[in-house]
């Protein structure tokens, strides 16, 4: 099946009109060609000509481009025969249902003029030595139209000087229904639209081909003159070209370039531009959108390949027509980021910001950084850089809603106090608009902290913790303290001091890095209680304060975290009580009481914390369900000390085969995001994150991304992210993130083996029970998400007394960029009473951003309050914050705390007394000895017991 010759093209048109009289009308053009040939076009549509919108396909202006006529005849035949048979059309892998054919035939009129220049084509088909683009007058017909026509010989003596172009004009003039015109050429695999005169622009109507002011300026790229096109027309044209492209690509996967005709080369007097220019020159004429197809990769491909090209282009024409009838005509671009602000970037931290465009358009729009980003002012070393995501982005078509394009810029904080400015220029490829976007940056020092961990090593730390078989208080400390060391950010100072009746500095304040973390963890490993030793918290806090007061410690925050399991008790040692040293403490003091208020009588420590910008938390009696409590208290205090806010902090258990997704919300106010997995064996978990856009962050991704760290040790594993996290597209910042947990069965088996190896120190049955419990109920975990943020919650408490019946007032203060979060948050506390009863406490906003709640503490023991805030940022993004506080009351809570004046005599009677001291003293008095005798108590045995229990 060879190429059609010029005679066959005319015969085919005549035959189609004769065969399909109800759907194909023969249009014989009024002018003979220069060589005297008659040419024919056809109108294809159901029924007589009427005002239905029309498309106009033109072929064969240029002689060498043989296949265009074959495309036209084949496509006309397809439409007519498919409609007659009520079938669809199949082009390669692309099938159009019969409904599409019916729509085109019934709602539209298709004009096809297959061979405008048969003289030239005949010459080309019969003479291999002729390559030219002319008619028999030596005129390039596609330069002879009245659209910025240029007076040079090959363009004719005047616009429409040629009979062939007059024929094309005749069709436009005779059929004002024509709204879309495609001029079919070859080659280079292109799909183009108006204009060919110059680059398009949509902002300056005065720059148009009719305005003589700009004569002589047209046709040069980037010269200050661009051709005006209405935005809605550009939207229509880009959208239709995209539809042609996708329809064509669906046939056999070939991708044609798209763009405006000027992208090919500057053209004047073309049919494509004439189609669109008619309306501009004479508004009474129909506006026709002009298009250009350049099919194939050579003028005359072997016909076997030409047959494939016919399928490609036929699909493009049908997809085009179907979509054209939808009449999409929208193009709107808004620069959302008039400037880029790298606000408060910490030293050395790299942050990303995007120049963001919001588009509503029938077509996709391409944006590209064409200049910069460059620094206009700033200290040496200032750099604004493009990122691995590239220098361009495309906003997909979205005529009914909107879509975005993001061009990412990065900036790394130089030195604290620095400011910098810069600029970047972004261009839209379709509209040739350019935007200069100013960039500003300022650098801050990230507040750093010096933290002393003050650890009780008195004899009672050997006692059973209650968490599980063989787990002593000492063991609990050993797995709760190391995560503090793992999670504290590099550059903060951490020190360790242990105490009994004397303070024992273990590790001075040391800047945290990989090495010093190892050293600190070794110290925890070496921790051992001192049998029989007493408890002097007063001396311990003074020693910790001395270390924090050293001139070399210049951190913004200085804090100590005291962990104790007992009350102040000095035995025969002459030591100071908390009440005596309070005045010399000026660091922030936090305390964790491991045990019950009865036991610890923490009034003095509570007061010391409250007076030094801290708070005390009591664990209450521990049990298996509270195994993370100490760890979490430590983490919460650490978060507060190092300027982090906790987003959420849920616990759970997971079994092999299950998948847990723990959601947490990040807002645009958040600068970093840390997600901590706390577990006795974090290695047993497969731990990953899913970003709001669906990107997955796993250890591999974290390793490849400079802005994501994966850290941790034996009790904690965490992802630490600089926000936004940019893995693709828009990047991820605000929205719902999810931590994903699954059990790695192999690692779980390994963990079981490790547990069994420990069975020499623990009863083997207990190990079996632990394993069985894990198999039955799953591994325990806690996932804490936290953020260094501009949206902060600080919670505090005050209670009227430490006796049962005391009134507790809880207060949560919410600020965003230091401004109160007013009328856009709700705060509640989940309250757990000493007996385990749960209830919810509603907070009320008493002042802007201040939320308060009150409750009575009726029962002896620890009541915990998990305070949870939910709200919206100034920009309307949801956020959550969380913090736990505890309140303790006990009988005798309001008795004066021990002080120097009552040393050695205890604190009186009741639950607050020092029994050892009392019994020892009493047993040595005359009346005491009489009493013991009377009750048949052996004084020697009592002395033995006293030695055993009281050291």
């Amino acid at each position: 099946m060879p190429y059609l010759n010029v005679e066959e093209i005319e015969s085919a048109v005549i035959a189609l009109a004769a065969t399909y009289p109800g759907t194909c009308e023969l249009i014989t053009l009024p002018n003979l060609t220069v060589d005297g040939r008659t040419t024919n076009a056809m109108r294809i549509a159901l029924g007589a000509e009427d005002d239905r919108p029309a498309v106009f396909f033109v072929g064969g202006q240029h002689p060498a481009e043989w296949g265009s006529g074959d495309i036209c005849i084949s496509f006309a035949t397809d439409l007519l025969e498919a409609y007659a048979a009520n079938t669809g059309l199949t082009y390669g892998s692309q099938t159009y249902p019969a409904s599409v054919v019916r729509r085109v035939m019934e709602e539209c009129q298709t004009f096809i003029y297959p061979c405008v220049n048969p003289d030239g084509k005949n010459l080309s088909q019969s003479n291999p030595d002729v390559f030219q683009r002319h008619n028999s007058n030596g005129v390039d017909l596609n330069r002879n139209y009245d659209a910025h026509w240029l007076d040079i010989p090959a363009h004719g003596t005047a616009p429409f000087s040629e009979p062939e172009t007059q024929n094309v004009r005749f069709i436009f003039d005779s059929y004002p229904q024509i709204r879309w015109c495609i001029d079919i050429h070859c080659y280079t695999q292109l799909l183009y639209h108006n204009w060919g005169i110059d680059q398009n622009q949509i902002t300056t109507p005065a720059q148009n081909f009719l305005n003589p002011v700009f004569d002589g300026m047209r046709g040069i790229e980037d010269d200050g003159y661009s051709e005006y096109i209405r935005p809605e027309d550009l939207g229509t044209q880009c959208g239709l070209v995209e539809r042609m492209q996708s329809s064509l690509n669906a046939v056999r996967g070939i991708t044609y370039s798209t763009g405006q005709s000027f992208d090919l080369y500057v053209t004047r007097g073309t049919l494509t531009d004439y189609a669109y220019a008619r309306h501009w020159a004479d508004p009474s004429k129909t506006k026709t959108q002009g298009f250009l197809i350049e099919w194939g990769t050579e003028f005359q491909p072997p016909f076997a390949e030409m047959e494939n090209i016919i399928l490609d282009i036929s699909s493009a024409l049908l997809g085009f027509t179907d979509h054209a009838l939808d009449e999409c005509g929208i193009l709107d671009i808004e620069l959302e980021t008039m400037s880029l602000e790298f606000a408060s970037v910490p030293e050395g931290q790299t942050t990303y910001r995007a120049v963001t465009f919001r588009t509503t358009a029938c077509c996709s729009l391409d944006f590209e950084i064409v200049d910069g980003p460059s620094v206009t002012s700033g200290p040496a070393g200032t750099e604004f850089l493009t990122t691995l995501l590239g220098t361009s982005d495309t906003a997909p078509a979205a005529p009914d809603s909107f879509s975005h394009a993001h061009l990412w810029i990065s900036y790394t904080g130089t030195a604290a106090g620095d400011t910098a400015e810069g600029t970047v220029t972004v261009r839209c490829h379709q509209t040739n608009q350019e935007w200069d976007v100013d960039i500003t940056a300022d650098v801050i020092e990230r507040p750093s902290a010096a933290v002393m961990m003050v650890l009780d090593q008195s004899g009672s730390m050997r006692l059973d913790s209650g968490i599980g078989p063989g787990i002593s208080r000492e063991d609990v400390l050993k797995f709760s303290a190391p995560p503090v060391v793992e999670v504290i950010e590099d550059g903060n100072l951490l020190g360790i001091l242990q105490f009994d009746h004397d303070p024992h500095p273990i590790m001075g304040l040391t800047e945290m890095d990989v090495t010093s973390r190892g050293v600190a963890n070794d110290h925890f490993e070496d921790y051992a209680h001192n049998p029989g030793a007493r408890t002097s918290i007063g001396e311990a806090v003074v020693a910790a304060q001395d270390l924090l007061s050293d001139d070399s410690v210049t951190q913004d925050v200085k804090a100590m975290i005291v962990l104790t399991d007992g009350r102040e008790e000095h035995g025969s040692f002459d030591r100071r009580f908390i009440s005596e040293v309070g005045g010399s403490i000026n660091s922030n003091v936090f305390a964790i009481g491991l045990g019950t208020p009865d036991n610890l009588q923490p009034a003095a420590l509570e007061a010391l914390c409250a007076g030094n910008m801290g708070y005390m938390m009591m664990t209450g009696p521990l049990d298996a369900d509270a195994s993370f409590r100490l760890t979490k208290y430590y983490q919460q205090i650490l978060a507060g000390v190092t300027n982090n806010d906790i987003i959420v902090d849920p616990d759970g258990r997971i079994k092999p085969g299950q998948r847990h997704e723990i959601p947490f919300r990040i807002s645009e106010t958040d600068i970093t995001g840390d997600v901590l997995l706390l577990s006795p064996a974090p290695g047993v978990f497969k731990f990953s994150l899913i970003t709001p856009s669906g990107e997955i962050i796993d250890p591999g991704v974290a390793a490849a991304s400079p802005a994501i760290d994966l850290g941790g040790g034996e009790q904690v594993r965490f992802y630490r992210m600089q926000l936004p996290v940019v893995l693709g597209g828009a990047g991820d910042h605000e929205g719902v993130w999810r931590a994903v947990l699954e059990i790695d069965r192999k690692q779980l088996e390994k963990y079981f083996v490790t547990l069994k190896q420990r069975a020499d120190s623990v009863d083997f049955k207990d190990v079996e029970r632990i394993i069985k419990e894990i198999v039955t109920h799953g591994m325990r975990y806690s996932v804490m998400s936290r953020t260094w943020s501009n949206l902060n919650m600080s919670a505090s408490k005050s209670q009227t007394s430490f006796e049962p019946g005391a009134m507790m007032t809880l207060r949560a203060k919410l600020t965003e960029y230091s401004v109160p979060v007013e009328d856009r948050a709700n705060v509640v506390a989940e309250m757990t009473a000493p007996d385990g009863a749960l209830s919810v406490l509603q907070f009320y906003e008493t002042h802007p951003g201040i939320f308060e709640a009150e409750t009575d503490l009726m029962h002896t023991g620890v009541t915990s309050f998990r305070i949870m805030a939910k709200g919206k940022t100034l920009r309307g993004t949801p956020f959550t914050r969380e913090q736990t506080l505890t309140g303790s009351v006990w009988h005798g809570g309001d008795r004066p705390p021990p002080s120097g004046s009552n040393t050695g005599t205890g604190t009186g009677t009741g639950s607050g007394l020092d029994l050892c001291c009392l019994i020892n003293c009493f047993s040595q008095t005359d009346s005491g000895q009489r009493f013991l005798k009377k009750h048949e108590i052996d004084i020697c045995e009592l002395q033995k017991c006293l030695k055993e229990c009281c050291g």
Binding site: M1, P2, Y3, L4, N5, E7, E8, E10, A12, V13, I14, A15, L16, A18, T19, Y20, W66, I73, S74, T77, D78, L80, E81, A82, A85, T87, G88, L89, T90, T95, Y96, P97, Q125, S126, P128, D129, F131, Q132, H134, G138, D140, L150, I152, P153, A154, Y187, T188, I220, E221, Y265, V266, F299, Q300, P302, F303, E307, L311, S314, V370, T391
Partner: protein, 122 residues
């Protein structure tokens, strides 16, 4: 406008694909409009390169005489395949006579969805 060169060599009338390089758009446009040579395509340098280049390349089909003109203008260019040679091959694939007998026989579609063996049945 194409004219056969006077030279007697065998391929004197043949067209060659020639890439002609210009330093900027203005000189390219002047060349396009001064010489009505057979222009096929304009190639631009990739815009994404950070150093923006003005240089353009025009893809022409030129006879030897026209190539001489390009030479004389001192324009950088490369001569590629002989397109006339390919053209002579394709002549054999042009239809002879009139398959549609002056309009008495209509072409048949090969692309109807419902038809089996839609291709190559003619």
């Amino acid at each position: 406008m194409a004219k056969k060169a006077d030279s007697k060599s065998k391929d004197s009338g043949d067209f060659f694909k020639v890439m002609v390089h210009f330093k900027d758009h203005r000189s390219a446009r002047e060349f396009i409009e001064t010489y009505g040579f057979f222009l096929v395509h304009m190639h631009r340098l990739e815009k994404s390169s950070s150093e923006k280049s003005e240089a353009v390349t025009l893809e022409y089909f030129l006879t030897k005489a026209e190539i001489n003109t390009v030479n004389k203008l001192g324009l950088e260019h490369e001569v590629q395949e002989n397109m006339s040679k390919i053209g002579r091959l394709r002549q054999k694939e042009v239809g002879k006579g009139d398959r549609f007998k002056g309009g008495k026989i209509a072409p048949k579609s090969k692309n109807l969805s419902t038809r089996d063996d839609k291709r190559g049945d003619q």
